[in-house]
C-alpha cells in the first residue's frame, strides 16, 4: 500500500513536469468582502502573491463553499488551486506544484540557502497562522463581532450557528495541537514580535534589495507579505497583532513595496 502511494506520487510528479502551466488555472477562495477570515485571507494573499511573483496567469473565483471544496490541508485548507486535472490546497503544496513545473522563482539559490529559506517559510506560516487563529477564535470580542458574523454570513439561520460552532471547534483543536491553546494574548504578541524581529533581521541582511534573498522574490517574500499585509490591513476590535507588526518599520515598508509592485491596492497607510 505504502509503495503504491509512492508510486502514484511519482507518476503524478512525472505527469506534472511534462505539462505546461495550464491556461485555465483557477484559484478558489471565499468571498473577500463579507466572508473570508483573517487566517484564510492571509494564506490566500500569500498564494496570490507567489503566483504573481512567478508571473503565472490565474483566475480567481470566489465561492461560499470554497473551504468544503478544498481537498484538505494542514491549517486553513485555503486557498486551493485547480490546474488542469490537479487540485492543490494551501501554500506549500501549491509552491511544490509550481516548482515541479520548473516555473518557480528562487531557483538561483544553492541547496543550503534553500533549506534556510524553507525554515523561514515554515516559521512564518506557523507563527502567523496560529496567531491569526488565536485572535479570531480565542478572543471573545473578535469572535463575536467579526469572526462569527463573517463565517456565518453565507448560511441561512440556524445553520450559521452550527457552522460557526464547528469552525470554532476545529480552530481550537488546531490551536491545541500546536500548543497555543493555553497561551494568553501577551504570549501570542511576544511570539509574533519575535518572529517579526527575525524577519526584519533577515530583511536587513540584504539592505540594498527590497527582497529577503537577493534581488529576486522568493516563497518567503510571498508568505511574509501575505500574512503581514493581511494583519496590517484587517480592522478588528482588537488590533494587538497589527500594532505589533507596525513596530517593525522595515517590514511595513516591505509590504508597501510588494503591494505596489504586484497588487496596487495601496491600502497601507
Amino acid at each position: 500500500m505504502q509503495q503504491s502511494v509512492l508510486l502514484s506520487q511519482l507518476a503524478t510528479s512525472h505527469k506534472l513536469s511534462e505539462e505546461p502551466w495550464p491556461e485555465d488555472a483557477t484559484l478558489y477562495q471565499p468571498y473577500e468582502v463579507e466572508q473570508i477570515l483573517l487566517p484564510e485571507n492571509a494564506s490566500c494573499l500569500a498564494v496570490k502573491a507567489y503566483l504573481k511573483m512567478c508571473n503565472l496567469p490565474f483566475d480567481i473565483r470566489t465561492c461560499s463553499n470554497a473551504e468544503h471544496m478544498s481537498p484538505g490541508g494542514r491549517m486553513t485548507k485555503l486557498p486551493f488551486i485547480r490546474a488542469g486535472a490537479f487540485i492543490f490546497a494551501e501554500f506549500e503544496p501549491i509552491v511544490n506544484f509550481v516548482e515541479q513545473k520548473d516555473m518557480a522563482i528562487g531557483n538561483l539559490q544553492d541547496e543550503d540557502e534553500k533549506a534556510d529559506m524553507r525554515t523561514y517559510v515554515s516559521l512564518v506560516e506557523n507563527i502567523f497562522t496560529m496567531a491569526e487563529l488565536y485572535i479570531s477564535f480565542k478572543n471573545e470580542r473578535v469572535y463575536k463581532e467579526v469572526t462569527a458574523p463573517r463565517n456565518g454570513s453565507v448560511y441561512p439561520w440556524p445553520m450559521n450557528h452550527m457552522q460557526n460552532y464547528g469552525k470554532r471547534r476545529n480552530a481550537l483543536r488546531l490551536l491545541k495541537v500546536y500548543q497555543w491553546d493555553d497561551l494568553n494574548i501577551d504570549n501570542v504578541i511576544e511570539k509574533v514580535a519575535k518572529c517579526c524581529e527575525t524577519l526584519e533581521y533577515k530583511l536587513k541582511e540584504s539592505p540594498d534589495t527590497p527582497f529577503f534573498y537577493g534581488d529576486q522574490p522568493c516563497e518567503l517574500d510571498a508568505i511574509a507579505f501575505g500574512h503581514l499585509f493581511s494583519i496590517l490591513t484587517t480592522t478588528l476590535p482588537n488590533m494587538a497583532l497589527a500594532q505589533t507588526v507596525q513596530k517593525f518599520k522595515h517590514l511595513v515598508d516591505f509590504c508597501r513595496f510588494i503591494d505596489e509592485k504586484y497588487f496596487q491596492t495601496r491600502c497601507l497607510p
Binding site: C63, H68, M69, Y155
Partner: protein
C-alpha cells in the same frame, strides 16, 4: 377465528331448519367490555364498539367482533387481543342478548427489536427501541438505527400519534414528527450526502370514489455533501459543503393489487412531488410517478407492465440543482442489464445523476414448473421474462436503452422481492456501464 368462543345459549336459540345458518339467529349486543386497559385512556377505545351494537344476528355479531379485534390491534396499544362472547346475564339482560369482552394485553413500557430490512437494492441491519403508548392514546416514541451493506446509515428519533379513535376513524389519520440523521452514499459518483434535520408528516386515507393514501410532509434538513475519494470531477466537487433544505412533499398512492410482491391483478399508482425552497439555500421541484398494472392470463401466468418517470427542475431562486436529488437510472430496480446508475450522463468518466428519466418494463410472470408439488414453498417463487426500456435526460425514443432477459424471483417477508436475472442489454450508449449476464436485485419497488 381461533380466539373466539361460543358458549351457552347460542346453539339452543337456533331453530331446527336453520341450525347452521348463523345469519338467521337473531342476536343483540347488550354490553361490550374492553379489559386490560392499564395505561390507555378509556376514550381511546370508545369507538371500538360502534359496529357491534348495530349487529342484529349472530353472524354479523361474529364478523363485527373480528373487525373490532383488528381495529383494537391497529390502535397500537395491545400486544394481543382475545374475544369472548357470552350470553348476557343479570336483571337487565335482553332475551337474545350477548355480552362481548375483548381482553387485551398491553404492550410493555419499552420494546426493542433488531433485524434486517430490505431497501432499494440494499439490505440493512436495523435496531429499534420503542416506547409505545406513552400518554395513553397511542402516542409512541421510537429510536431507530440502521446500517446497510452499502454503508449508508440512518438514525431516527420518531414520535407519532394516530387519530384512529376520532370520528375520522375511516381516514386513518396519523401524525408524526421525527428527527433524523441519514447518510447516503453515492459510490458511483464518489460523493455522499449527510442529512440532518426533522420531518413532520401527516398521512390519511381518502375514499371519495377511489381509495387513496395521502401523505403530506415538511422537511427541514442540513444536507452536507462530501467526497468519497480524491479524484472527483470538478462539477461534483462544486457541490461540496452544507446546505439548508426546506421542503414540502406530497405523495399519493393508489393500490388495489391483490398482493404486494407477486400480484396477479390490480393497479398501483404512486406519485411524489417535492417543492424545495421555502427558506434555506436549496431550491428545486421534483416529481416522480410510478405505475404498475397486473393482468392475469391463464394458469397462473401474469402479465405486468411497469413504468416510472422522474423530473427535477430548477425554480426561479436558483440555477444549481442539488446533486443528491438527481436521478440514477440503471440497475436491477430500473433498467436491468445496466450497472447501478450506469445508464445516465457522465462527467469526466464519472456517472452523475440525470435531471429527468423514464423507464418502463414488461414482464411475463410464470409459476415454477412442477409448482404443484411443493405448493407452500413454490408460492414464494416466480419465473419471469422481462423487457426494459428507459432513458435519461430525454423523452424521445432515440438513444434509449433497452435490455431483456429472464430470471427467478423470490418473495421475501411479503414485502420485498429478491431477483436473480440473466440480462442481455440490447441498446446502450457508449458511456454506459452494462452488465451482460447475471444480475442480483433486492428491493420492493421494481420496474
Amino acid at each position: 377465528m381461533p380466539q373466539s368462543k361460543q358458549r351457552g345459549g347460542a346453539a339452543s336459540a337456533a331453530s331446527k331448519d336453520s341450525k347452521y345458518d348463523l345469519g338467521k339467529i337473531s342476536a343483540r349486543v347488550d354490553r361490550v367490555n374492553v379489559s386490560g386497559l392499564l395505561r390507555t385512556h378509556n376514550d381511546y377505545v370508545m369507538r371500538a364498539a360502534d359496529g357491534l351494537f348495530k349487529a342484529d344476528n349472530f353472524q354479523d355479531l361474529m364478523l363485527e367482533a373480528m373487525s373490532t379485534k383488528s381495529y383494537l390491534h391497529e390502535l397500537g396499544i395491545f400486544k394481543d387481543v382475545s374475544v369472548h362472547i357470552d350470553v348476557s346475564r343479570g336483571a337487565d339482560a335482553s332475551p337474545q342478548g350477548y355480552e362481548i369482552t375483548f381482553k387485551g394485553n398491553e404492550y410493555s413500557r419499552l420494546m426493542g427489536s433488531a433485524g434486517t430490512e430490505v431497501g432499494q437494492n440494499e439490505g440493512s441491519l436495523r435496531t429499534e427501541l420503542t416506547i409505545p403508548n406513552i400518554l395513553g392514546r397511542g402516542e409512541s416514541i421510537s429510536l431507530q438505527g440502521s446500517y446497510s451493506n452499502t454503508r449508508a446509515n440512518d438514525l431516527q428519533l420518531k414520535f407519532w400519534k394516530p387519530f384512529f379513535h376520532t370520528r375520522f376513524r375511516e381516514n386513518r389519520p396519523e401524525f408524526s414528527f421525527s428527527i433524523f440523521r441519514q447518510t447516503d452514499r453515492f459510490d458511483i459518483s464518489s460523493f455522499q450526502s449527510t442529512n440532518l434535520g426533522y420531518l413532520i408528516d401527516f398521512s390519511a386515507h381518502s375514499s371519495l370514489g377511489v381509495d387513496l393514501t395521502h401523505s403530506l410532509q415538511y422537511e427541514n434538513s442540513i444536507r452536507n455533501v462530501g467526497l468519497l475519494n480524491k479524484s472527483v470531477p470538478f462539477s461534483i466537487r462544486e457541490h461540496c459543503g452544507p446546505k439548508l433544505a426546506s421542503l414540502v412533499r406530497y405523495s399519493v398512492v393508489f393500490d388495489n393489487r391483490d398482493a404486494n410482491v407477486f400480484a396477479t391483478r390490480g393497479i398501483l399508482l404512486k406519485s411524489t412531488n417535492e417543492y424545495c425552497g421555502l427558506g434555506g439555500n436549496i431550491a428545486y421541484t421534483s416529481s416522480t410517478a410510478h405505475g404498475e398494472v397486473n393482468v392475469p392470463l391463464f394458469s397462473g401466468y401474469v402479465a405486468q407492465f411497469c413504468g416510472r418517470v422522474g423530473i427535477v427542475k430548477e425554480t426561479k431562486q436558483t440555477t444549481l440543482l442539488p446533486i443528491g436529488s438527481l436521478f440514477y437510472c440503471g440497475g436491477p430496480m430500473t433498467l436491468r442489464g445496466f450497472k447501478y446508475g450506469g445508464a445516465g450522463p457522465v462527467v469526466d468518466g464519472t456517472p452523475i445523476g440525470a435531471q429527468t428519466y423514464w423507464c418502463t418494463g414488461a414482464h411475463l410472470w410464470a409459476p415454477l414448473p412442477f409448482a404443484g408439488v411443493f405448493k407452500s414453498l413454490a408460492s414464494n417463487f416466480r419465473m419471469h421474462f422481462f423487457y426494459n426500456i428507459g432513458n435519461t435526460n430525454s423523452f424521445s425514443f432515440e438513444n434509449m436503452r433497452t435490455a431483456f432477459g429472464m430470471g427467478l424471483a423470490f418473495k421475501f417477508a411479503d414485502r420485498a422481492r429478491i431477483e436473480l436475472n440473466y440480462c442481455i442489454p440490447v441498446r446502450r450508449q457508449a458511456t454506459d456501464k452494462i452488465l451482460n449476464g447475471f444480475q442480483f436485485g433486492i428491493g420492493y419497488e421494481f420496474i
